[in-house]
């Protein structure tokens, strides 16, 4: 059985310092070349995109496939607490849960990371010490991003210095919507540099504020050109967060970006994904859009808090045949 289907080049990590991969370096040379490139990307037909996402949402994932998907989804969760009321105690509890999500079943995988504000990074780092769980920190004046670059970079440096493995930055949506793409690009490259070699950078677009799918596609390419390791839908702090359609669109973007540059970029939908059923729909999108190269928590994450407990309850149901209740998973 031979196929002449196009084969994608081997993935390689994003360039360590910010900036576009060689194949597209001329694109980012100036504001006008960047604008021309982003506006030259194929348009997105909203009806068609949403129809495709909805149709993949009808896949029926049962038995062994469901078990695989649930464990994969657990391992992809960035267990998140981003509240003004966060305390060291809350963060420690979160860390413990990330390391061992189901105290009654040691076979349940650990989550990918915990995600906290910069001032909680050190506490989180301690809480997950010795495990595979990473510490991600939102930075750059999250969630609004309305601060000077100097303040944003200080925010990032502090989080990295405290041991953050991953930085979740927000783009300047104001600059983006004003058409000031170069400013957004420069900020991302500066943050990428501040992340240094140790921290991976997730770039949050706040898709609900960008509003159109054309904007989301342009933002995705802008982020990847600037050196994002991950592109992320949203902060979870606005009305519209991750949806199957905007995540599908971003998956198409990372797929096309790798085909063009050889650089693989991860995707993180965040906010609003609360049930196992939802999470599995997103994994189907990954599977059928970019394939198994992204079916790994190095390349795909869920930004979520309440999702984990539903995944654990469904996992227990599959194992025992009985529905458990909220009293059989930990509430933190």
């Amino acid at each position: 059985m031979s196929s002449t289907a196009p084969t994608s080049p081997q993935p390689s990590p994003a360039p360590e310092r910010g900036g576009a991969p060689a194949a597209l370096s001329d694109v980012t040379a100036s504001d006008s070349t960047l604008r021309r490139f982003l506006h030259g990307l194929p348009g997105v037909d909203a009806v068609g995109l949403e129809a495709r996402a909805a149709s993949l949402g009808t896949r029926s994932i049962k038995t062994t496939a469901k078990a695989y998907a649930i464990d994969l989804a657990i391992s992809m969760v960035d267990l998140t607490t981003l509240e003004g009321a966060d305390t060291p105690g809350k963060v420690r509890a979160l860390g413990a849960k990330a390391v061992r999500p189901d105290p009654s079943d040691r076979t349940a995988p650990a989550t990918a990371a915990v995600c906290v504000y910069p001032d909680m990074v050190a506490t989180a780092k301690e809480a997950v010490a010795g495990s595979t769980v990473k510490v991600a920190s939102v930075a750059t004046a999250f969630p609004a991003g309305r601060a000077s670059l100097a303040v944003k970079l200080a925010d990032v440096r502090e989080a990295v210095a405290a041991g953050a493995d991953e930085i979740d930055m927000v783009i300047d949506r104001g600059a983006f919507l004003a058409g000031n793409y170069r400013k957004v690009f420069d900020e991302i490259t500066a943050v990428k540099e501040a992340c240094g070699a140790s921290a991976r950078l997730k770039v949050i677009f706040e898709t609900g504020e960008l509003s159109t799918y054309d904007n989301i596609r342009r933002a995705s390419w802008l982020g990847m050109l600037a050196g994002a390791d991950f592109i992320k839908t949203s902060t979870g702090k606005v009305a519209v967060n991750a949806t199957p359609a905007n995540t599908l669109l971003m998956l198409e973007a990372v797929r096309d970006f790798r085909a063009q540059t050889g650089v693989q970029v991860g995707v993180k939908p965040a906010g609003g994904i609360r049930t196992t059923k939802d999470a599995i729909k997103f994994l189907v999108l990954v599977n059928e859009t970019v394939g198994e190269d992204w079916l790994d928590n190095h390349w795909f994450r869920f930004g979520a808090s309440s999702l984990l407990n539903d995944l654990l309850m469904q996992r227990q149901k599959l194992a025992t045949g009985r529905y458990s209740g909220p009293d059989y998973v930990t509430v933190d």
Binding site: A5, G48, K62
Partner: protein
């Protein structure tokens, strides 16, 4: 691509008995491209439908045997299992059914529109209530994926009955005069590609306008029409208003030629359509014909590429391409040909071909051995004429009738695969340079049923759509159906319109 050995399949099929639930389980749906995330089988249960070992003709409200006692078998194209044995209508049965319909016409047409509407609304609701059963039945008899019968066929069937039920008491406001009259007995012959949906397209407007019906379903897919007969009984529809005559072409020909038939409606091949036109020429019978097509799907260089790829796939691989309005010719602007083809091939590699009852199956079985042979021979001709063939690398099940999603590149207007209707999962890819060339090539066919335009430029959509000689032009979408929208062809794709307000005209004396 590996072709499995297909010997002995006919012998196996004849020993299988109706209702044998295990047979379908051997066909596994899987995508061409393997992945760590492998979907477990998710078959829809067959237990929701109870197929009897034999069925009669439905005449005057009763199931009866054929006058000459002939029967034929209907098989599941996915497994070749015999599903049931069906009475085969002959000339005498046609006469009996037409007489029953004629007798029922007097009282049915005299009912106030609101009363006829009650029956149609009741039928629509029963179809909704029984939609899972009917979807499984249709998938078994036709071979199309349950995903399609569940999400497309059955919802549209119910919608058609609801829609025309609404017209029944408003006919004087439809624009066909103050008191439009029905024609009498409608003789209707429908194809196997959308058995129940085509039945709905035919029967719903006929009954709403006060006609009575004799309908002949295709010989490979008689079951859903017979279940519909049961729905009519359940709805309390008066005897003789709907008569169902399963059978072959001879029964269809007798029905069309019957002197007491006042209206002929046919959906099927252009060749048979021409025969029908000859038969009814010189009579007072009113005719609508919905025939073949070779739809052009035109993709401009400023198209939304990812959605265009979905539209192309939906246009030609929906129902295994066995769709009269399929977008079987892809006209792509030369400047994006390679990029689009790469995307298209990658997408086709993710299609899941296999057990039509599996809820994750995208591509089901070809409806019959005859159709498979026709597709195979046209594809061979395409290769012989020098077009370059590419088929999605998927494994075909051992039993049943299967054809992998296929496309031809390097096709010109001179190739047979660009001119003849293949009626299968085969796409011919042609290129163009300018909008004028696209229009010229799209129109350069004896058919004129459907076309698609893909561009982000609204003015171009309007300009090109106005120049296309096709009954339906979709822009930035394909194969979208709605009961409110008229459907029909130009040129050899037929005449008359079905659906919408326009669809009433064919059944009214105007």
């Amino acid at each position: 691509m590996t072709k499995k050995n297909k010997k002995n399949k006919a012998a196996d099929a004849s020993t299988a008995v109706a209702g044998g639930a295990a047979a379908a389980a051997t066909v596994r749906a899987a995508p061409a491209r393997s992945s760590a995330f492998e979907y477990a089988p998710a078959p829809e249960s067959r237990a929701v439908v109870d197929i009897a070992p034999s069925y009669g003709l439905f005449i005057d409200g009763e199931f009866t045997e054929a006058a000459d006692g002939r029967v034929f078998k209907t098989v599941s194209p996915a497994t070749e299992e015999v599903l049931s044995e069906i009475a085969q209508a002959g000339e005498a049965d046609v006469d009996r059914a037409v007489k029953a319909a004629g007798k029922a016409f007097a009282s049915w047409s005299a009912l106030p529109g609101a009363e006829r509407a009650k029956y149609l609304f009741r039928i629509a609701r029963i179809i909704q209530e029984r939609s899972r059963e009917l979807a499984v039945l249709e998938t078994l008899d036709n071979g199309k994926p349950i995903k399609e019968t569940r999400d497309a066929d059955l919802p549209l069937v119910a919608a058609h009955f609801f829609y025309y039920a609404g017209w029944a008491d408003k006919l004087e406001h439809a624009g066909y005069g103050t008191s439009p009259r029905p024609l009498g007995v409608a003789g209707q012959v429908i194809p196997w590609n959308f058995p129940l949906l085509m039945l709905a397209w035919k029967i719903a407007p006929a009954l709403a306008t006060g006609n009575t019906v004799v309908l002949k379903p295709a010989e490979t897919t008689p079951l859903s029409a017979l279940f519909f007969a049961d729905v009519c009984r359940q709805a309390g529809l008066p005897r003789g208003v709907v008569n169902i005559l399963p059978g072959y072409g001879d029964a269809g020909a007798a029905l069309v030629a019957h002197p007491d038939v006042n209206k002929v409606a046919f959906t099927g091949s252009t060749a048979v359509g021409k025969q029908i036109a000859r038969t009814v020429a010189g009579t007072r019978k009113k005719v609508t014909l919905e025939l073949g097509g070779k739809g052009a799907n035109i993709v401009f260089d400023d198209a939304p590429i990812d959605q265009a790829v979905e539209g192309i796939v939906n246009g030609i691989f929906f129902n295994q391409g066995q769709v009269c309005c399929a977008g079987s010719r892809l006209l792509v602007q030369e400047s994006i040909h390679d990029e689009l083809l790469d995307s298209l091939k990658r997408r086709l590699s993710t299609l899941r071909l296999g057990d039509p009852l599996d809820k994750n199956t995208d591509i089901g079985a070809i409806n019959s051995a005859e159709q498979l042979a026709r597709i195979t021979s046209l594809v061979e001709q395409g290769e012989a004429e020098g077009a370059e063939r590419w088929s999605a690398p998927c494994e075909l099940p051992e039993n049943g009738y299967w054809f992998a999603p296929t496309l031809f590149t390097g096709v010109t207007q001179a190739h047979t695969v660009a001119r003849d209707e293949i009626f299968g999962p085969v796409l011919s890819v042609l290129t163009f340079r300018t909008p004028d060339e696209a229009v010229a090539k799209a129109n350069n066919t004896p058919y004129g049923l459907s076309a698609g335009i893909w561009t982000e430029k609204g003015s171009r959509i309007l300009a090109v759509a106005n120049k296309l000689r096709a009954g339906v032009v979709w822009s930035n979408t394909f194969n979208k159906f709605d009961p409110t929208s008229p459907f029909g062809g130009y040129k050899e794709s037929g005449f008359g319109r079905e659906g919408g307000r326009h669809g009433l005209e064919a059944y009214l004396d105007v």
